[in-house]
Amino acid sequence: MSDDVHEPLWEVFIRSRRGLSHNHVGSLHAPDAQMALRNARDVFTRRMEGISIWVVPSAAITATSPEERDPFFEPAADKAYRHPTFYDIPKEVKQL
Protein backbone atom coordinates (compact mmCIF):
# COMPACT_ATOMS: atom_id res chain seq x y z
CA MET A 1 0.00 0.00 0.00
CA SER A 2 2.83 2.42 0.67
CA ASP A 3 3.83 2.61 -2.97
CA ASP A 4 5.10 5.98 -4.15
CA VAL A 5 1.99 6.83 -6.18
CA HIS A 6 -0.65 6.39 -3.47
CA GLU A 7 1.60 7.13 -0.54
CA PRO A 8 4.41 9.44 -1.58
CA LEU A 9 7.38 10.20 0.63
CA TRP A 10 7.43 13.20 3.00
CA GLU A 11 10.34 14.79 4.84
CA VAL A 12 9.62 15.58 8.48
CA PHE A 13 10.98 18.56 10.42
CA ILE A 14 10.41 18.97 14.14
CA ARG A 15 10.97 21.93 16.44
CA SER A 16 11.94 20.52 19.80
CA ARG A 17 11.22 23.71 21.76
CA ARG A 18 10.57 27.40 21.37
CA GLY A 19 13.51 29.39 20.11
CA LEU A 20 15.05 26.54 18.15
CA SER A 21 14.55 25.96 14.47
CA HIS A 22 12.84 22.93 12.96
CA ASN A 23 15.27 20.07 12.38
CA HIS A 24 15.03 17.30 9.86
CA VAL A 25 14.28 14.07 11.73
CA GLY A 26 13.45 11.58 8.98
CA SER A 27 10.95 10.73 6.31
CA LEU A 28 7.74 8.72 6.00
CA HIS A 29 4.96 7.70 3.65
CA ALA A 30 1.48 9.24 3.66
CA PRO A 31 -1.34 9.77 1.14
CA ASP A 32 -1.49 13.54 1.68
CA ALA A 33 -0.12 16.39 3.79
CA GLN A 34 -2.66 16.14 6.61
CA MET A 35 -2.04 12.42 7.04
CA ALA A 36 1.71 13.03 6.82
CA LEU A 37 1.45 15.40 9.79
CA ARG A 38 -0.44 12.81 11.78
CA ASN A 39 1.95 10.02 10.85
CA ALA A 40 4.85 12.24 11.85
CA ARG A 41 3.20 12.86 15.20
CA ASP A 42 2.82 9.12 15.71
CA VAL A 43 6.24 8.06 14.48
CA PHE A 44 8.49 10.90 15.67
CA THR A 45 6.95 12.54 18.75
CA ARG A 46 6.16 9.54 20.95
CA ARG A 47 8.67 10.67 23.55
CA MET A 48 7.90 14.38 23.76
CA GLU A 49 10.39 15.26 21.02
CA GLY A 50 8.58 18.28 19.73
CA ILE A 51 6.10 21.15 19.89
CA SER A 52 5.77 21.80 16.15
CA ILE A 53 5.96 19.67 13.02
CA TRP A 54 6.52 20.53 9.36
CA VAL A 55 6.09 18.06 6.53
CA VAL A 56 7.37 18.66 3.01
CA PRO A 57 6.89 16.41 -0.03
CA SER A 58 10.27 14.80 -0.66
CA ALA A 59 9.73 15.46 -4.37
CA ALA A 60 9.72 19.22 -3.65
CA ILE A 61 13.28 19.10 -2.38
CA THR A 62 16.07 19.80 -4.84
CA ALA A 63 19.29 18.32 -3.56
CA THR A 64 22.94 18.38 -4.52
CA SER A 65 24.25 15.17 -5.96
CA PRO A 66 27.43 13.38 -4.82
CA GLU A 67 29.15 14.24 -8.14
CA GLU A 68 28.71 17.92 -7.39
CA ARG A 69 30.49 17.60 -4.08
CA ASP A 70 33.85 18.98 -5.09
CA PRO A 71 32.76 22.10 -6.99
CA PHE A 72 30.11 22.84 -4.37
CA PHE A 73 31.96 22.34 -1.14
CA GLU A 74 35.68 21.90 -1.70
CA PRO A 75 36.48 25.59 -2.40
CA ALA A 76 35.45 26.58 1.15
CA ALA A 77 37.89 24.19 2.77
CA ASP A 78 40.96 26.44 2.80
CA LYS A 79 39.26 29.70 3.74
CA ALA A 80 39.59 29.72 7.49
CA TYR A 81 39.14 33.52 7.56
CA ARG A 82 35.45 33.01 6.89
CA HIS A 83 34.92 31.40 10.26
CA PRO A 84 33.88 33.80 13.01
CA THR A 85 36.65 32.58 15.29
CA PHE A 86 37.82 36.07 16.28
CA TYR A 87 34.87 36.94 18.48
CA ASP A 88 34.48 36.27 22.19
CA ILE A 89 31.13 34.64 22.79
CA PRO A 90 29.39 35.79 25.97
CA LYS A 91 28.75 32.95 28.42
CA GLU A 92 25.01 33.75 28.52
CA VAL A 93 24.57 32.86 24.84
CA LYS A 94 23.66 29.22 24.74
CA GLN A 95 22.33 28.67 21.23
CA LEU A 96 24.65 29.93 18.53
Binding site: M1, S2, E7, L28, H29, A30, P31, D32, Q34, M35, R38, N39, R41, D42, V43, R46
Partner: protein, 254 residues
Protein backbone atom coordinates in the same frame (compact mmCIF):
# COMPACT_ATOMS: atom_id res chain seq x y z
CA UNK B 1 -13.49 -17.03 40.49
CA UNK B 2 -14.43 -13.38 40.85
CA UNK B 3 -17.69 -12.15 42.30
CA UNK B 4 -19.40 -9.33 40.48
CA UNK B 5 -19.00 -5.99 42.19
CA UNK B 6 -22.20 -4.70 43.74
CA UNK B 7 -21.31 -1.02 43.93
CA UNK B 8 -22.86 0.63 40.83
CA UNK B 9 -19.97 3.07 40.36
CA UNK B 10 -17.50 0.17 40.57
CA UNK B 11 -19.44 -1.74 37.91
CA UNK B 12 -19.66 1.37 35.74
CA UNK B 13 -15.90 1.95 35.99
CA UNK B 14 -15.31 -1.72 35.22
CA UNK B 15 -17.41 -1.49 32.06
CA UNK B 16 -15.38 1.46 30.80
CA UNK B 17 -12.13 -0.24 31.77
CA UNK B 18 -13.06 -3.41 29.90
CA UNK B 19 -13.96 -1.34 26.81
CA UNK B 20 -10.46 0.10 26.89
CA UNK B 21 -8.62 -3.15 27.53
CA UNK B 22 -10.46 -5.13 24.87
CA UNK B 23 -10.15 -2.50 22.14
CA UNK B 24 -6.52 -2.03 23.13
CA UNK B 25 -5.90 -5.72 22.55
CA UNK B 26 -7.71 -5.70 19.22
CA UNK B 27 -5.60 -2.77 18.02
CA UNK B 28 -2.43 -4.42 19.31
CA UNK B 29 -3.24 -7.36 17.03
CA UNK B 30 -2.39 -5.03 14.13
CA UNK B 31 1.15 -4.74 15.41
CA UNK B 32 3.52 -5.64 12.53
CA UNK B 33 0.48 -6.23 10.25
CA UNK B 34 -0.80 -2.73 9.49
CA UNK B 35 -0.85 -1.47 5.87
CA UNK B 36 2.26 0.64 6.51
CA UNK B 37 4.80 1.19 9.27
CA UNK B 38 3.32 4.62 10.01
CA UNK B 39 -0.14 3.14 10.58
CA UNK B 40 1.32 0.32 12.63
CA UNK B 41 2.73 2.86 15.06
CA UNK B 42 -0.45 4.95 15.01
CA UNK B 43 -2.70 2.00 15.91
CA UNK B 44 -0.43 0.77 18.66
CA UNK B 45 -0.15 4.32 20.07
CA UNK B 46 -3.94 4.35 20.34
CA UNK B 47 -3.84 0.89 21.92
CA UNK B 48 -1.40 2.12 24.57
CA UNK B 49 -3.57 5.15 25.37
CA UNK B 50 -6.58 2.87 25.86
CA UNK B 51 -4.59 0.47 28.01
CA UNK B 52 -3.47 3.34 30.24
CA UNK B 53 -7.06 4.50 30.68
CA UNK B 54 -8.15 0.94 31.49
CA UNK B 55 -5.45 0.52 34.14
CA UNK B 56 -6.53 3.68 35.96
CA UNK B 57 -10.18 2.61 35.82
CA UNK B 58 -9.45 -0.93 37.10
CA UNK B 59 -7.63 0.58 40.07
CA UNK B 60 -10.57 2.89 40.78
CA UNK B 61 -13.10 0.06 40.41
CA UNK B 62 -11.14 -2.13 42.83
CA UNK B 63 -11.13 0.73 45.32
CA UNK B 64 -14.85 1.37 44.97
CA UNK B 65 -15.88 -2.26 45.50
CA UNK B 66 -13.21 -2.89 48.12
CA UNK B 67 -12.04 -6.05 46.36
CA UNK B 68 -8.45 -4.87 46.03
CA UNK B 69 -8.09 -6.76 42.75
CA UNK B 70 -4.95 -6.13 40.73
CA UNK B 71 -4.71 -5.23 37.04
CA UNK B 72 -3.60 -8.79 36.29
CA UNK B 73 -6.63 -10.19 38.13
CA UNK B 74 -8.86 -8.14 35.87
CA UNK B 75 -7.07 -8.75 32.60
CA UNK B 76 -5.92 -12.34 32.90
CA UNK B 77 -7.90 -14.14 35.58
CA UNK B 78 -11.48 -13.40 34.67
CA UNK B 79 -13.52 -15.52 32.30
CA UNK B 80 -15.60 -14.32 29.38
CA UNK B 81 -18.78 -13.91 31.42
CA UNK B 82 -16.99 -11.57 33.86
CA UNK B 83 -16.02 -9.06 31.16
CA UNK B 84 -18.42 -6.13 30.87
CA UNK B 85 -17.18 -4.45 27.69
CA UNK B 86 -19.59 -3.51 24.94
CA UNK B 87 -19.87 -5.82 21.94
CA UNK B 88 -18.58 -3.20 19.50
CA UNK B 89 -14.99 -3.17 20.81
CA UNK B 90 -14.58 -6.95 20.74
CA UNK B 91 -15.51 -7.27 17.05
CA UNK B 92 -12.71 -8.68 14.93
CA UNK B 93 -10.33 -6.33 13.13
CA UNK B 94 -11.51 -7.45 9.68
CA UNK B 95 -9.96 -5.43 6.88
CA UNK B 96 -8.55 -1.96 7.54
CA UNK B 97 -11.95 -0.36 6.86
CA UNK B 98 -13.55 -2.37 9.68
CA UNK B 99 -10.83 -1.32 12.11
CA UNK B 100 -11.16 2.34 11.11
CA UNK B 101 -14.97 2.28 11.31
CA UNK B 102 -14.95 0.55 14.71
CA UNK B 103 -12.60 3.27 15.92
CA UNK B 104 -14.74 6.08 14.51
CA UNK B 105 -17.94 4.77 16.10
CA UNK B 106 -16.31 3.99 19.44
CA UNK B 107 -14.00 7.01 19.75
CA UNK B 108 -16.94 9.33 19.06
CA UNK B 109 -18.79 7.67 21.94
CA UNK B 110 -15.70 7.74 24.16
CA UNK B 111 -15.02 11.40 23.51
CA UNK B 112 -18.60 12.36 24.47
CA UNK B 113 -18.44 10.10 27.52
CA UNK B 114 -15.02 11.27 28.76
CA UNK B 115 -15.92 14.93 28.22
CA UNK B 116 -19.02 14.52 30.39
CA UNK B 117 -17.17 12.32 32.92
CA UNK B 118 -14.55 15.02 33.48
CA UNK B 119 -17.28 16.65 35.58
CA UNK B 120 -18.12 13.44 37.44
CA UNK B 121 -18.91 13.62 41.16
CA UNK B 122 -16.27 10.90 41.57
CA UNK B 123 -13.11 13.00 41.66
CA UNK B 124 -10.82 10.20 40.56
CA UNK B 125 -12.95 9.26 37.58
CA UNK B 126 -13.13 12.96 36.72
CA UNK B 127 -9.33 13.17 36.75
CA UNK B 128 -8.92 10.05 34.60
CA UNK B 129 -11.47 11.50 32.18
CA UNK B 130 -9.76 14.87 31.89
CA UNK B 131 -6.53 13.18 30.80
CA UNK B 132 -8.33 10.77 28.48
CA UNK B 133 -10.17 13.54 26.61
CA UNK B 134 -6.93 14.73 24.99
CA UNK B 135 -5.96 11.21 23.98
CA UNK B 136 -9.34 10.28 22.56
CA UNK B 137 -9.59 13.57 20.67
CA UNK B 138 -6.61 12.36 18.67
CA UNK B 139 -8.02 8.82 18.24
CA UNK B 140 -11.19 10.31 16.80
CA UNK B 141 -9.23 12.62 14.52
CA UNK B 142 -7.20 9.69 13.22
CA UNK B 143 -10.31 7.60 12.58
CA UNK B 144 -12.10 10.56 10.98
CA UNK B 145 -9.21 11.31 8.61
CA UNK B 146 -9.20 7.70 7.43
CA UNK B 147 -12.99 7.47 7.16
CA UNK B 148 -13.06 10.52 4.89
CA UNK B 149 -10.29 9.15 2.69
CA UNK B 150 -11.64 5.61 2.49
CA UNK B 151 -15.32 6.52 2.19
CA UNK B 152 -14.74 9.23 -0.40
CA UNK B 153 -11.74 7.47 -1.96
CA UNK B 154 -11.69 4.82 -4.68
CA UNK B 155 -14.72 2.74 -5.69
CA UNK B 156 -13.19 -0.24 -3.86
CA UNK B 157 -12.45 1.65 -0.65
CA UNK B 158 -15.95 3.15 -0.65
CA UNK B 159 -17.60 -0.28 -0.97
CA UNK B 160 -15.45 -1.77 1.79
CA UNK B 161 -16.00 1.16 4.15
CA UNK B 162 -19.77 1.10 3.64
CA UNK B 163 -19.70 -2.68 4.27
CA UNK B 164 -17.73 -2.11 7.48
CA UNK B 165 -20.26 0.49 8.61
CA UNK B 166 -23.18 -1.85 7.84
CA UNK B 167 -21.48 -4.69 9.72
CA UNK B 168 -20.70 -2.69 12.87
CA UNK B 169 -23.68 -0.36 13.08
CA UNK B 170 -26.02 -2.76 14.97
CA UNK B 171 -23.52 -2.93 17.85
CA UNK B 172 -23.68 0.83 18.47
CA UNK B 173 -27.13 0.78 20.09
CA UNK B 174 -25.68 -0.99 23.13
CA UNK B 175 -23.42 1.99 23.88
CA UNK B 176 -26.45 4.00 25.01
CA UNK B 177 -28.27 1.30 26.92
CA UNK B 178 -29.89 2.15 30.24
CA UNK B 179 -30.06 -0.38 33.06
CA UNK B 180 -30.06 -0.40 36.86
CA UNK B 181 -26.35 0.41 36.95
CA UNK B 182 -26.47 3.41 34.63
CA UNK B 183 -29.59 4.76 36.34
CA UNK B 184 -27.81 4.61 39.71
CA UNK B 185 -24.59 6.27 38.54
CA UNK B 186 -26.52 8.97 36.69
CA UNK B 187 -28.55 9.64 39.85
CA UNK B 188 -25.31 9.90 41.88
CA UNK B 189 -23.84 12.35 39.39
CA UNK B 190 -21.01 9.91 38.63
CA UNK B 191 -21.90 9.42 34.98
CA UNK B 192 -23.78 11.25 32.19
CA UNK B 193 -27.21 10.19 30.97
CA UNK B 194 -26.72 7.74 28.05
CA UNK B 195 -29.64 9.34 26.24
CA UNK B 196 -27.87 12.69 26.16
CA UNK B 197 -24.70 11.02 24.87
CA UNK B 198 -26.68 9.40 22.08
CA UNK B 199 -27.90 12.74 20.71
CA UNK B 200 -24.38 14.18 20.59
CA UNK B 201 -23.01 10.94 19.12
CA UNK B 202 -25.68 10.88 16.41
CA UNK B 203 -24.90 14.41 15.28
CA UNK B 204 -21.15 13.89 15.31
CA UNK B 205 -21.17 10.54 13.48
CA UNK B 206 -23.73 11.75 10.93
CA UNK B 207 -21.53 14.71 10.08
CA UNK B 208 -18.50 12.51 9.32
CA UNK B 209 -20.50 9.90 7.40
CA UNK B 210 -22.06 12.56 5.20
CA UNK B 211 -18.70 14.09 4.38
CA UNK B 212 -17.32 10.62 3.65
CA UNK B 213 -20.25 9.92 1.26
CA UNK B 214 -21.33 6.97 3.42
CA UNK B 215 -24.92 6.03 4.09
CA UNK B 216 -26.09 5.67 7.66
CA UNK B 217 -27.58 2.16 8.02
CA UNK B 218 -31.23 1.91 8.96
CA UNK B 219 -31.21 -1.54 10.60
CA UNK B 220 -33.25 -1.97 13.75
CA UNK B 221 -31.38 -5.12 14.85
CA UNK B 222 -29.58 -4.15 18.05
CA UNK B 223 -27.69 -7.01 19.71
CA UNK B 224 -26.87 -6.48 23.37
CA UNK B 225 -25.50 -8.32 26.40
CA UNK B 226 -21.88 -7.17 26.71
CA UNK B 227 -22.58 -5.08 29.82
CA UNK B 228 -23.93 -8.26 31.49
CA UNK B 229 -21.09 -10.51 30.34
CA UNK B 230 -22.84 -12.03 27.31
CA UNK B 231 -20.45 -11.72 24.39
CA UNK B 232 -20.21 -12.53 20.69
CA UNK B 233 -18.44 -15.68 19.57
CA UNK B 234 -15.18 -14.02 18.54
CA UNK B 235 -14.54 -12.70 22.04
CA UNK B 236 -13.70 -16.08 23.58
CA UNK B 237 -10.96 -16.66 21.01
CA UNK B 238 -9.51 -13.23 21.69
CA UNK B 239 -9.47 -13.82 25.45
CA UNK B 240 -7.84 -17.23 25.03
CA UNK B 241 -5.00 -15.63 23.11
CA UNK B 242 -4.72 -12.67 25.48
CA UNK B 243 -4.75 -14.73 28.68
CA UNK B 244 -2.88 -17.83 27.59
CA UNK B 245 0.61 -16.81 28.65
CA UNK B 246 -0.37 -15.57 32.09
CA UNK B 247 -2.44 -18.65 32.82
CA UNK B 248 0.25 -21.05 31.61
CA UNK B 249 2.94 -19.22 33.59
CA UNK B 250 1.22 -17.53 36.55
CA UNK B 251 3.08 -14.45 37.73
CA UNK B 252 5.40 -14.45 34.72
CA UNK B 253 7.33 -11.20 34.35
CA UNK B 254 9.46 -9.53 31.72
Amino acid sequence: MIAVAADPAAVYALRLADDGLVLSHRLAQWSSRAPALEEDVALTNIALDLLGQARALYARSAELDGSGRSEDDYAFLRDERDFLNCLLVEQENGDFAVTVMRQLLFSTFQLEAWTALSESSDMQIAAIAAKAVKEVTYHLDHATQWTLRLGDGSAESHVRTQAALDQLWPYTAELFENDAVTRDVVAQGVAPDPERLRMEWDASVDHVLRQATLERPSTSWAPTGGRRGLHTECFGYMLAEMQHLHRAHPGAQW
